[in-house]
Amino acid sequence: MRILKLFENAPFRLYLGLFLVALFVLVGAILPWFAPADPLVWYTTPRNQDPSWTYPLGTTSLGQDVFWLLTWALRNSLILGLLVAFFSTLIGVFLGLAAGYAGGWLDRVLSFLMDALLCIPSLPILILMAALFGGQLALPIVGVALVLFNWPYPARQVRAVALTMREREFVNVAWFSGESSVRILVRHIFPYIAGWSAANFINTVLVGISTESALAVIGLSSAQQATLGTMIYWAINYQALLAERYVWVGAPVLAIVLMFIGLFLVSSGLSMRSAARRMSV
């Protein structure tokens, strides 16, 4: 239980989280350049190898090196997840703040949009779009669609916060200091929801990655690009789980889980630390 105690400690959480995230960024951003061969191409290695020195995570039934495949998959998934999370949080937070702060017709229009989008179940629409864009969604399109369906969540929350923030005196002071509405939103109100936004960001990274893999698993994402989702897709397609090729299917799953834990630790560590800093004299 001593290990658990460490998690009480903001820096420890933060550093462990940062370490994990950095590890993934490293694996995803740098290692792919060193891949000995394009891991997407089949039969660059013998098939169905168990992990060994030459193939650290073994090979797939298609003769791909799982380790290098994983590095590529991580890169694409990370990019997708981070971009989706970044834009949906950005758009969501900004529009939510704007709606809550401005009120009036802007609020009404934005709230309506949020409500309406929230009511439309995204997965069936994504499946439809998969058909619309030619049966197989390219990653950027998946990304755009995910942003479209994900921004209303933070927006709704943030709007509620902004509504109460509007009543806070310091917002009036900021206005009398000549701050523009945008600056008031960004500099004065946003910090109060920054912690929440970070949590939302992290959750959306995961939503991005996992929705993509859900689409991939039912064969609708871009099966020829390496993402964690398509890796799982191919593994499932070749029955890796039942055939007890656990490394192949387990590697991407574990990667998703660890990445989430890393991001989670960073966000909770950050909020713990900033709380501690503001409290200290």
């Binding site: 191409v41 998969a130 058909a131 197989q136 064969g219 609708l220 039942l242």
Partner: protein
Amino acid sequence: QEMTDVGTPRAETLIVDMLNARVGNPTNMNMYQQGVTVNHGMHQLALSQLYDIDTAAGTQIPGLAAEMPEALNEDFTRFRVPLREGLTWSDGEPFTADDVVFTAEMIRDTPALAYSAAFIDAIASVTKVDDHTVEIETTRPTPRLSIVLGSVIYGNAFHVVPKHIWENEDPATFANFPPVTISAYKYMDHDPNGTWFLWEKREDWQNTEVGQMIGEPKPQYVLFRSYGTEERRVLAMASNDIDILTDISPESLDILRNQNDKVRGWFTDFPYANLDDPCERGIHFNTSIAPYDDPQTRWGLALAINAQRASIATFSGMMRASPLAIPPTSVLMDTYHQPMSQWLAEFTLEDGYKPFDPDYAIRLGEQLRSEGVEGIPEDPEALRELLGVGWWKHDPEQATKLLQDAGFTNDGGQWKKPDGTPFTITILAPADFEVQSQRLAFAVANEWTQFGIPTNVQQMQAGAFFTAENTGNYEVGSYWGSSCAITPDLFVRMEAWHKDYVRENGTPASHNQGRYVDEELSALIDELRAIPADDERIVPLGTDILKELVEGLPVIEMFGTSKFVPVNETYWTNYPSADNYYEGPWWWWSNFKFINAQLEPAAAD
């Protein structure tokens, strides 16, 4: 006594995997309505066709009819159809010519049934001669009436219905539930959510065509059920909850054999799969779109493929290659592939290059053996019989030359089309309804990408896929199109290549979705149209047509379909298999009723 979870004794119940998963409207068994699926046993056990198919021999056989139709005139527009005597419906009423005539008139008079239009288009009239004979007139010369009204592959839309039941109903709305059936089984129970259907053997099974032709079926009950995803179906068979599975992947069969030693494939050893499926897989082109309108391009692309690698990638090599536009089934191999291998070996492209590689099977055999696969025959002839007579060479140099001759350029590893734009290919592939074509698409994409042409695979769900294919909204596709054939008479298969069926891109085409125009080919097809299936010119004509298709290569034909259709021998035995080839393993076809009647209960240990 062990019971199934639907309450029947397990030892008396045959459990069969349902082809199209769950049925959404289980209490509608009116097979004439557009959205009604009858793959839940109705089609396989309870209904019957006028003519059925003997899949082992590759010939049509009489079903409800007593004999094959007899043409009454020279131009094949009038036929006498004698009906089997002594048959009764499951409610005891006798089956007579009245039922047949009623059915024909009902279809004709009910335009709301989609089939009505198709029926009227082909059949002019059906009249009763006596209780067990009808006469049929067609709208145009139809040398093969049994194909129009009976099963060749899977089944046929024409189902005789009991007049005494249907005459008081509106067929457009009638649910036909519970159905009165004509074959040896009758409806017993079903799941309101459509996951399973239970059929029970009729006490009067003697009064059915199965009873007359084969004898008493042993399973007292047949349960058709859906287990959902492939993983679940595999787990179900591994735990003996299902006796017969429809298509699965080779990996799944591998798992099953490891998990349960009562499970077997078509072959007990390599290649496990049945290779006699009457549909072939290959890479199709929309030949109306540049640069695929040039046979040089198509040939170039064909020679850029390493078929050996593609075979392993697709199904671990458990496939039979075919350079011809007909599936390499045992029957057709004997009729066409083997006799034509000499011609193939000598066949030259325009520039004198000989593209055929007769040793494909031998080299693949070696490679598989080196990977530790057991049970590969040593004898070259046996290998050719197993893995195919040969295929096109993998010759990137020649491929480059052909492409360059066709106007392509390659600077610095980047292929450019004749019009100067970069050459990339998109292969349209089934998303999750046909695993072999899907994997083949990825395998070929892998080959072309390695050759230097960036190729990606565009997977589409069934609806979208067929819409794209029929409207010509694709360039390269991986599926069978209409590439199915089972009898040496190639009419059914080749008719589809006729230029008459070519439609503009954007308009749906019912045949010839590749929009291939070849005058000589069309002339040969016209000839074939005019002769009946038992004419002696059938095979020579078929051979000529196949040669024509090799030259033009509108499709890079690759492999016959390998059907991994495992059975579990825990409760039932005497399934058809490579060693016991009394029928092919198409459990979802109308002839399943004949297989079912020959199964034996496993000896209780």
